[in-house]
Subunit: 385 residues, 4 copies
């Protein structure tokens, strides 16, 4: 029985980055994971100073991810990392992920999983071959209230699902922020680093994942319009998508980064023939259930939700958990599953509730379809491939 | 100088109807209008008993609208009605409206204005010919907070408008209510009485009107999907529309009557390059303004809004006005304008702020386009005609 | 059977006043009442011009209320007014109210009912003697959601009531508005016109009434602190009160007019041993019910409330009613009761649901106790007398 | 320069406890602190199994806190703990805290700081003598929006503070939960373990701390009523307090644990002569500012707040932080200050922003005064001592 914290390495996430810090907060919170090594930047000096500020010994801070995997794999089990977290821009996901798997390391990776659908399929093949684990940080599915929504739908409480509205308005790219030296804006609006989709890749994929996660449905085709509102920008900063699901349900997906004044206002509504659900990320501990024949109900994290939410909640009702705890739920479930695997035990079913490579592939398929449809005034419906 | 209340007749609105009662409440509230006659039902007994319950003398309660116009026109000015309100199902708007105009009576009419676009154009021609007034009760544009939104956009506070989200979810038709004897459900889902559109005609037109009213933009083309979710229903009970506006802005319009558990949740968001606005009919006295560079602001009816809202507000801040007051604003502005006209005075500009035949024509064009696009998987964009 | 509108006279409510206009809107809305006469101001010219703007004939607009009652009582029934509405400042309530009763006219009166408790008791005696009707416009008890709250408590849904929090923050008197010519501020802060209490008389009485109305409990004693925050003001502009109820429940009542930035934020929460209720006037169509053992419920006017609310609602769910409709409910119930009485019929129980002289007396007792306790640092609890 | 994580020991917080787990989450999150030892329970077996589940070596898990301090103090610096966190029930705070200080260990302690005021004063004397650090986990002052409120008040944006409303309704003790084996309910309602106050000690102290923290004012006297609603309970489960502050401002404080259906609904409103602030813990990332002369503003964590909030925020706007992050802010600021001290550096001013022994003493004074006043019907105002 392994009686120690799991050991995490990191690619990307230097002290000048955004999402790497989030991953560390999420990984550390529950006392299950420690950071043991990393290659935190393509700039070796930033990597080194970052590693120092994370209290790592100098010999575990690497200049390249290749060096990291080559060195770590030689260390004894219990000393070397157990898994690597990849938090680089999209174009630099596939290389370290594939090399990690080839060297026997499990992987946590930020979304979208890769630069192209083909890369995602290659990762899937390698995972099948090696039996290693991969977690994809579709953060919003980590919220307990989202898990309760999924449970209510799965239990049939809403009846047959007919309609999904999912919207993700942000406003931070309302002006050409990428010209002012903002690192986040710079790579996310650059097709060479972000991929073929802008807002749709960055946040549209989250919205799409959430819709499929909660409903358990699969999109079969979509109709879309993508827009570039800020002059000179190379990728979509806005778009709207009509969705058709495999059970006949219909959806509307909105993702925009030019909704001036909006923060990160992801919201989803799902309607069946008996009732509807509403969840908004800005007030994440509340799930509103509306019914055809009784008063609207307010389900609250920690107070009135079911088993799925409870397994992903740390505090009693009224002690709000947030984005970092949702993120941490992915790490926690991944770490429990990985620990069970390393102990040759069966993971509990609720531990398996974290996004993986299949979710990543769905995301790449969404990007492909939405870009194909989004700029074409003549083709109305594009199937998922 | 006319020193009396304006005199209203009514077609439809018997004691068994819904929207007629709303019209009377709205018309009476401000003490500017009195009901003097009516033909309240195609059932003469209901018309008579209704008229009695409205405290009308028997000789001013008519069996047919034809009889009403023929009789009223013979009465002396100041005794006969000044205008007629038409609150019958859609298919029965045109007849009484045209006859009213032909007999010199001004008209208030519920939306959609007519059964077909052609009828609306005929009314427009007759109005131009006669110089009479027509008000169309697109209620939601009567809310003071909506008028403040329009004013903020017109003043350029949001910058150039880029994006409009307007949604109108209702849930009351989630099951086949029309089979259970519900009169409202019965005619609104019947193509012979309602017209070629269901949800889109009933509430989609409100949403579309609101978008054009607030932004001052005009839709040029749309992409749509219409759905019939409840088996056996003959008209759309759900739909989603992508809109293109004449300044290059884009919109998403949702109208559904199968969003189980929703009441009447009309909501609109408008984004320019400087900021955004949000208004929801369920909390109508609040207008939220979001900005790229300062905190979100809460504008409140009666407290912090401008001249357009103030001219349509009766109470100080914190004394919530509602749907009936919004409705009454249409009647009040119409009545002030009509009174000025009857007094050969110039109406104040703010009195002219009520929907008219042009709004009705836009609504019919919307219905035509959305139905053309909504069931066709091959045509993506349909222009407004 | 009387088949006509009820005929209302008015004392106060000239075109320069606030609450008179509200009374007229409320009275007219339902088409049950018409204004036939009035003495609208102590300034005869204002009275006359006001009456003209309300479309009254000149001979029914009076210079004094004495003249009005003397003249009206001589007119034939069906021509003379049926009741008078008194909307003068507090000090001028008793005179016209008593004279109205002495002349056989029913009375609607704004709150607080009189200047002193003794005057209120005299009105009670006269009402008992004459059998006439009096309605007191404690507006907030007219809201349908408030009536549903009362019904839920009465049905025992909350269990035994333990705790009441009622708060009424306003901010409009944060500065010395009475010095700037504001007529409302002027008389409401003047002990000669308003009475011995300022904020507590003006809005504290509303809060207290609401607490007793919903719970059905009676305050037995109170502990209070009154404050005058704005220098030079003569009456309390702020205060807090601890309440003891006759069943052992406890309450906290807050009323302030110096809560800078607040509009009219009346809110009440009531807790029993099984659950709690929350209602806020700014969002009046929602009643929140919280439970120890099930999710919070949102009851909505027009959708999910019971018989008491339904009897006081005009529109379907999602068509928000507001302050004026709450006000109108008092007039409507009063008018139905009065009409039944004039027709020698039994009024329906729900029509009797309007505040009367007993409520007025409770209000005056509250004012007496709160002023006695509020400035005395040595006496903690003052009983209701 | 110390280049390692700070080393934390723990007294209490076994795997069967509540608040200990919260402290660990809060301490670990930022990657600045590691747990190195502990005495997690008075039951040695629970202590041992808990330590194991936290991945501690057996020789650093102790049977008594005395044993822990005696052993740890002998370990070399960098190996022994740097500070101890005390998360036992109130009656068992003083012993380990004093012994920690006597052995040179810094202390983090849950509130209320001690069982009696005298104990708190003894700790203060020892802190002054030793120069060691003590942090008190008044969690709610750790929220960034609360810090922004404090900053706005300090900058004079609200003008002179006049009024504070702070309320803390919970419902979890609406029935006699302590009889059903609930460990939390059991000790918190037991005067031998909790102290002389129930709800007022448990949550009233939080509310009082928040009021003084945000306003910078000090309570000088109070008027109170305490209640025991659940039969057989030995401590107050409800109470209301009127507060007088040193600048002439007045306050109302409500703390109750029998508000059936409420979770943890701490809320504060502060009004000055220019505007007011409102913050509710259930939606902690929003601070509402109301003004006498401009629209209400919504300040949001991560988006539109000032330096104090920014120094205590981890994520961009719209990525909600919650209770655990507020808690972690206390640990983070404490750890930065402690690290600076250990490095003989000057801590940054913002790092000093964590509650300490003075806040603990204020809390004990509040408990003393509120209990003295709360059951006495004859004494209205009790001064703070």
């Amino acid at each position: 029985m392994m009686n120690r914290k799991l050991r995490m390495g990191m690619v990307g996430g230097g002290s000048d980055a955004f999402i790497g810090a989030i991953h560390r907060l999420a990984a550390f919170m529950d006392g299950q994971i420690e950071l043991v090594c990393g290659c935190f930047s393509i700039n070796p000096e930033i990597s080194l100073s970052s590693g120092k500020s994370y209290y790592l010994p100098g010999n575990r801070v690497y200049k390249t991810y290749q060096e990291m995997f080559e060195n770590e794999v030689k260390l004894p089990e219990g000393d070397r990392m157990d898994f690597v977290t990849i938090v680089t821009p999209n174009f630099a996901h596939f290389g370290p992920a594939m090399m990690a798997l080839e060297n026997g390391f499990n992987v946590v990776i930020d979304k979208p999983i890769t630069f192209t659908l083909d890369e995602a399929l290659q990762l899937q093949a390698k995972l099948n071959e090696t039996g290693l684990l991969l977690a994809l940080t579709h953060t919003y599915s980590g919220y307990p209230a989202v898990k309760h929504a999924k449970q209510m739908v799965a239990e049939g409480q809403l009846g047959k699902i007919r309609k999904v509205f999912v919207e993700y308005p942000q406003g931070w790219l309302s002006s050409k922020l990428e010209d002012s030296g903002n690192a986040q804006a710079s790579w996310r609006t650059d097709p060479k680093r972000s991929g073929k989709a802008g807002a749709m890749g960055d946040i549209g994929t989250h919205a799409h994942h959430l819709a499929e996660y909660i409903t358990g449905l699969r999109t079969t085709s979509l109709c879309a319009e993508l827009n570039v509102f800020v002059p000179g920008r190379l990728l979509d900063d806005d778009g709207a998508v009509l969705l058709r699901f495999d059970n006949g349900a219909k959806g509307v997906l909105i993702a925009t980064q030019i909704a001036a004044g909006e923060e990160n206002a992801l919201k989803i509504r799902v309607y069946g023939d008996k009732g509807g659900l509403e969840w908004a990320q800005h007030e994440p501990n509340t799930l509103i259930a509306k019914w055809t024949s009784k008063p609207t109900e307010i389900y609250r994290v920690g107070t009135s939700m079911g088993t799925a939410a409870a397994a992903n909640t740390r505090t009693p009702g009224g002690h709000p958990e947030g984005y970092l705890e949702a993120f941490a739920n992915i790490y926690r479930n991944f770490s429990f599953t990985l620990r069970a695997k390393m102990n040759s035990e069966q993971p509990k079913p609720e531990w398996l509730d974290f996004p993986g490579v299949e979710d990543g592939i769905r995301g790449m398929q969404f990007i492909d379809a939405v870009v194909e449809a989004g700029y074409n005034d003549n083709v109305k419906w594009v199937p998922f491939k």
